[in-house]
């Protein structure tokens, strides 16, 4: 019986719950980047917004349904900060890479439509390609181009990139995690397991190493 009671009646003490969610107030997430700030400060603030948008855990006082919109606001704020850096120096590799990265993260939001994901990944590619051009042969920008390829289902291309990174000595857990993902997708379970285990062994960055551990755990 209890299961039949509409959710909105249970939480009817919250006036907004039945009549749709309360509108998001962007003012609560002010644009804290403005012209005149140093590039260092702009990047710091951009990174802070980026880290919030990347976080999978909403703050305690957040309505769960509004978490993704809030993350999108932070994504926009982060991009504003990076753009101000790019206004002063259009080939700033770190600002370009992070602008691309915010689009990449947006493509992972569960509420995103396939079209929105594709669009986000195209934008991410544009920025990351510019970052790679600005800092030629930079391993990290190249890695993200590989990750985007994998996310778009182009695993052959992605695996070529990851292999080039490993050959050049850029050995981090995320390279192996994504290599494992592509191998698993291709049905190469044993190779995938080896890659995941390598990601776990490297444990850098730790977050993705934990994810890889969950893939090899019995």
């Amino acid at each position: 019986m209890r299961g039949l009671i509409p959710w909105c009646m249970i939480v009817s003490l919250l006036p907004a719950a039945c009549g749709g969610l309360p509108p998001l107030r962007e003012a609560a997430y002010p644009i804290d980047c403005r012209p005149g700030l140093s590039a260092q400060e702009l990047l710091k603030r951009g990174d802070a917004h980026r880290d919030v948008m990347l976080s999978g855990t909403p703050p305690a006082n957040t309505v769960p349904e509004q978490w993704t919109p809030i993350r999108k606001i932070h994504a926009a704020r982060a991009r504003t900060c990076y753009q101000l850096v790019l206004d002063a120096k259009q080939d700033h590799a770190y600002a370009l890479m992070n602008s691309g990265f915010t689009h990449l993260v947006e493509s992972t939001y569960p509420e995103s439509t396939p079209e929105a994901r594709d669009l986000a990944l195209v934008s991410a590619t544009n920025f990351l390609q510019k970052a790679f051009d600005a800092e030629p042969l930079d391993a990290q920008s190249y890695y993200y181009l590989g990750e985007i390829a994998a996310r778009r289902g182009q695993c052959d291309k992605a695996l070529r990139i990851f292999q080039a990174l490993v050959t050049s000595g850029w050995s981090y857990s995320h390279v192996y995690a994504w290599t494992g993902y592509c191998q698993e997708l291709a049905g190469r379970s044993n190779d995938a397991k080896t890659s995941y285990q390598k990601a776990v062994t490297l444990s850098n960055p730790i977050g993705i190493a934990e994810w890889a551990r969950s893939r090899v755990a019995p």
């Binding site: 990174d47 980026r50 880290d51 990347l54 999978g56 590799a93 770190y94 890479m97 992070n98 990265f101 990449l104 993260v105 992972t108 042969l137 930079d138 391993a139 990290q140 190249y142 993200y144 990750e147 994998a150 996310r151 289902g153 990139i161 080039a164 990174l165 050959t167 050049s168 000595g169 850029w170 995320h174 995690a177 994504w178 993902y181 698993e184 997708l185 960055p205 977050g207 993705i208 994810w211 890889a212």
Partner: protein
């Protein structure tokens, strides 16, 4: 058909790894000199008869060290004739600002007018107060009204001091705990306490995806350390500049 489609795109069966935050760029610190840089202070006179030798020997020594091109030198002018306490404060400020890595001090302990010789106790003290060199030297002098020191003797002193700062190889940082780092090599690689070195981080590059050409090594200077303790195969250094020093970075000793 639907199952085949699912297997082809694979999207239903294999979860994607989560995004990983980009590593921040390495933070650079300014470089003062790639050579060990020392200031030569006026010497002290325990005999009471050395006169201007306390200033002229350091002047000649500075020139001799400069010619040997191993130790970089801080200009003598601000130190020449400065009262001892003032000179000491200036040297400490220079060390705090990482302008110099060490200081050369000397004391004239004996002067024989008959044998026309002075005995000089010379020391090279590093930034962390390690004594990198300490030795007595006997210098000859000539002249009747003014003592003129033998430049060859001073040059020999300069050679000895230079040998106390041997060139060392680049050494990798094994690990970092707080403000200290452990190096992978020690006395076996020519390290001695008091040496200083810049920490360089390699920029992570890939081989050219088109040509396959290996990348040229590129570095940024991310900090500076001074060697506090040395064993035969490892050393401990103290970070004196830079917050972004990590394991696997390379120390380029001065």
């Amino acid at each position: 058909m639907a199952i085949a489609g699912l297997l082809l795109c694979g999207c239903a069966s294999v979860p994607m790894p989560p995004p990983t935050t980009p590593f921040p760029p390495r933070t650079e610190v300014p470089v003062e000199s790639y050579h060990f840089r020392a200031a030569v202070m006026d010497f002290t006179d325990q005999t009471g008869r050395a006169g201007d030798l306390v200033k002229t020997i350091p002047d000649i020594l500075t020139t001799a060290l400069f010619k040997l091109n191993r130790i970089d030198l801080y200009q003598r002018e601000p130190l020449r004739g400065a009262p001892p306490q003032e000179a000491k404060t200036l040297v400490q400020n220079l060390m705090d600002k990482r302008v110099i890595d060490g200081v050369i001090t000397g004391t004239i302990t004996q002067l024989s007018g008959l044998e026309k010789q002075v005995v000089l106790e010379l020391r090279l003290i590093s930034r962390n107060q390690a004594v990198m060199y300490a030795e007595d030297h006997t210098l000859s002098f000539g002249g009747r009204r003014v003592m003129e020191i033998d430049r060859k003797d001073v040059f020999a002193v300069a050679q000895s001091v230079t040998a106390a700062v041997p060139p060392a190889k680049e050494i990798r940082i094994a690990n970092r705990v707080g403000g200290r780092v452990t190096l992978e090599r020690g006395a076996d690689a020519g390290l001695i306490a008091g040496m200083t070195g810049y920490v360089q981080a390699a920029l992570e590059k890939i081989a050219d995806p088109v040509t396959g050409e290996a990348p040229k090594p590129a570095y940024v200077i991310v900090g500076e350390i001074v060697i506090d303790q040395v064993t035969h195969d490892s050393a401990i250094g103290r970070i004196i500049a830079g917050d972004d020093i990590r394991a696997r970075d390379l120390v380029r000793l001065k």
